[in-house]
C-alpha cells in the first residue's frame, strides 16, 4: 500500500490518518471532506484517480492542518517518528510540510526501523528539508519544478527563495541543472522535473524528455505539479519501475491537462477528472 504525508490549508484540521477516497470534488478521510484545490489534497485526488484506474486500493493519508506556522507539521512529524517504524507501506510520499531539518532527520530514522524499506518520494517542503539535510540520495524520487530544480542545483541555497541568480536564470537548460544537482549530491536516485518540457533523469542519464502535448497555460495552473506527484506515486505503488513510472506519469499528466483544454484560469480539479482517460491512452 502507498501512503501520502502532507497538510491541509485549515489550521483547525486535526491530525487524521486513514484511507482516502474522492467524492464530489472532495477527498474523504475518516468522515472528513476536504475541497481539492491544490497542495496535498490535489496530490491525493490524483493518486486516488490513478489507483482506481489501475484497480489498486486507495492510498493511505497522514494529514494535518497547517497554514504555514509549522505547528501542524511539527505535530505530524512527531506522530510519524512514533508510528512509521511499525508500518509496512511499499511507497511513502512526503509533500507540503514545513521544512524542518531536525524533524526531517528524525522521520528518516523512523523509516529505517521499517521491516522493508519503502520507495521514498519527496516533493514540496519536505524535498526542501531533504536537500538541506544533505540526505537527498536516500530518496528514490524527487519531483521538482524547474525553479525547484535550480534550488537543488544550487549547493549553497537552503530554500528556493535563496537560489542564486546565475543558476536561476531562464537560459540554464534543465540538463545542466540536473548535472549540477547530482554533482553536489542534492538529487534523489531519480528526478522527475516538471516544466515546459518534463524531464526524467538519474545520476547517469536523462532518461526521457516529454514535451507533448504542449499547453503553455499548464505552468500557471496551481496544483499541476501536485497531480504529477500523485500519479507517479500511484504508478510506483502498482509495481512499476521508478523510471518507467515517472515517464508514464509525465505523459498522463500532460495529456490530462490537454484534455481539460486549459487556460491560465483553469482549476486543477478539472485536470484530475481527465486522469483516467489519459491513463487509458498512455498505458492500456
Amino acid at each position: 500500500m502507498l501512503a501520502i504525508v502532507g497538510t491541509i490549508p485549515d489550521q483547525n484540521f486535526p491530525l487524521t490518518t486513514g484511507k482516502v477516497t474522492l467524492k464530489d470534488n472532495k477527498i474523504c478521510i475518516r468522515g472528513k471532506h476536504i475541497h481539492v484545490n491544490r497542495g496535498t489534497p490535489a496530490l491525493l485526488a490524483a493518486a486516488v484517480k490513478t489507483a482506481e484506474a489501475l484497480g489498486q486500493s486507495e492510498p493511505f493519508g497522514y494529514l494535518i492542518g497547517d497554514i504555514g506556522l509549522g505547528e501542524g507539521s511539527r505535530k505530524l512529524y512527531e506522530y510519524l517518528t512514533g508510528n512509521l517504524g511499525q508500518s509496512d507501506f511499499s511507497v511513502l510520499t512526503f509533500h507540503y510540510l514545513q521544512p524542518d531539518v531536525d524533524w526531517h532527520n528524525r522521520v528518516l530514522f523512523a523509516i529505517e526501523e521499517m521491516t522493508k524499506q519503502p520507495v521514498l518520494i519527496a516533493d514540496a517542503g519536505f524535498m526542501y528539508a531533504a536537500k538541506m539535510s544533505g540526505q537527498s540520495a536516500v530518496y528514490d524520487l524527487f519531483t521538482p519544478d524547474i525553479g525547484e530544480l535550480a534550488f537543488l542545483a544550487d549547493e549553497a541555497a537552503p530554500h528556493p527563495f535563496y537560489t542564486r541568480g546565475f543558476i536561476l536564470q531562464d537560459e540554464n537548460p534543465a540538463s545542466d541543472l540536473i548535472a549540477r544537482a547530482y554533482k553536489y549530491k542534492n538529487a534523489a536516485q531519480y528526478l522527475l522535473v516538471k516544466g515546459k518540457e518534463d524531464c526524467v533523469a538519474n545520476r547517469q542519464n536523462i532518461l526521457a524528455t516529454i514535451n507533448t502535448p504542449i499547453d503553455d497555460a499548464m505552468e500557471a495552473i496551481g496544483g499541476t505539479g501536485d497531480t504529477l506527484t500523485g500519479i507517479v506515486t500511484a504508478l510506483i505503488g502498482s509495481g512499476m519501475e521508478i523510471g518507467d513510472a515517472a515517464i508514464a506519469a509525465a505523459k498522463i499528466n500532460r495529456l490530462a491537462g490537454h484534455y481539460a483544454r486549459p487556460t491560465p484560469a483553469t482549476q486543477v480539479i478539472e485536470i484530475i477528472h481527465q486522469i483516467p482517460g489519459a491513463l487509458q491512452e498512455i498505458l492500456l
Binding site: 497554514i67 514540496a124 517542503g125 519544478d145 537552503p158 530554500h159
Partner: protein, 183 residues
C-alpha cells in the same frame, strides 16, 4: 571631499562590506519577520531581509539585517509594535541574498509573474488573480485559497497572511505584478 572625509568613507565602506557594523534579528516565525520588516521600514530604518547564517538555519528562515549601532532604538521600535526578536547577534558570515529575479510570461489575456519558486497569474482586463502555483511551504495552498478569485486590490497580500519563505516569495511576485499592472 577632504582627506579625512575620504578616509572615513573608505573605512565605512570596508566595515559595511565585512558586516562588522551589521547585526541580525532572528525571529520565531517568518511571519514575524515580515511584520517587523514592515514596521521598521515604515519607521525609516535601513534594514534588509536576508537569509540566516548557516549556524542558525533550521529550515524556513529569514532574518533582518540592521545597523548594529542602532540596536537599542530599533528594538524599541519593535517592542512598541509588540514584536520581540528571539535572538540578536552580530553578522559574522556572508548572509544569503533573497531572490531578486523575476520571470514574466504574457499569455495574452493573462499575465504571470514568477519570483523564485512562486507564480502568480492575473487576468489583465479585470486584474483578478486566477491562479497561484509553485512553492512547497504549507501556507501556499492557504494563500491560494484566500487570494484566487479576488482582484489585486481586494485580495489580502501574502505579507498580511503568509508565514513562510514561499509566502514571502509570493509577496515579491505580487508586488511585481502590481507594478506591471499599475497605470
Amino acid at each position: 571631499m577632504s582627506f579625512f572625509g575620504f578616509l572615513k568613507s573608505k573605512k565605512a565602506k570596508k566595515s559595511s562590506e565585512t558586516g562588522n557594523d551589521r547585526g541580525i534579528f532572528v525571529f520565531e516565525h517568518t511571519s514575524e519577520v515580515i511584520r517587523a520588516e514592515s514596521v521598521l521600514k515604515t519607521s525609516g530604518w535601513k534594514i534588509r531581509v536576508m537569509g540566516p547564517p548557516p549556524e542558525i538555519r533550521s529550515g524556513c528562515d529569514l532574518v533582518i539585517e540592521f545597523p548594529l549601532i542602532e540596536e537599542l532604538n530599533i528594538v524599541r521600535t519593535l517592542w512598541v509594535a509588540g514584536i520581540s526578536p528571539r535572538k540578536v547577534m552580530p553578522v559574522s558570515n556572508t548572509l544569503l541574498q533573497p531572490v531578486d529575479l523575476f520571470q514574466i510570461k504574457d499569455f495574452g489575456q493573462y499575465l504571470m509573474v514568477r519570483a523564485a519558486n512562486m507564480k502568480l497569474t492575473v487576468e489583465k482586463k479585470t486584474l483578478t488573480i486566477v491562479n497561484i502555483s509553485g512553492g512547497g511551504c504549507p501556507d501556499v495552498p492557504y494563500l491560494a485559497q484566500e487570494m484566487v478569485g479576488k482582484t489585486l486590490t481586494k485580495a489580502p497580500s501574502p505579507r498580511e497572511i503568509g508565514h513562510t519563505l514561499c509566502g514571502y516569495a509570493l509577496q515579491l511576485a505580487y508586488e511585481e505584478m502590481k507594478r506591471k499592472c499599475s497605470p
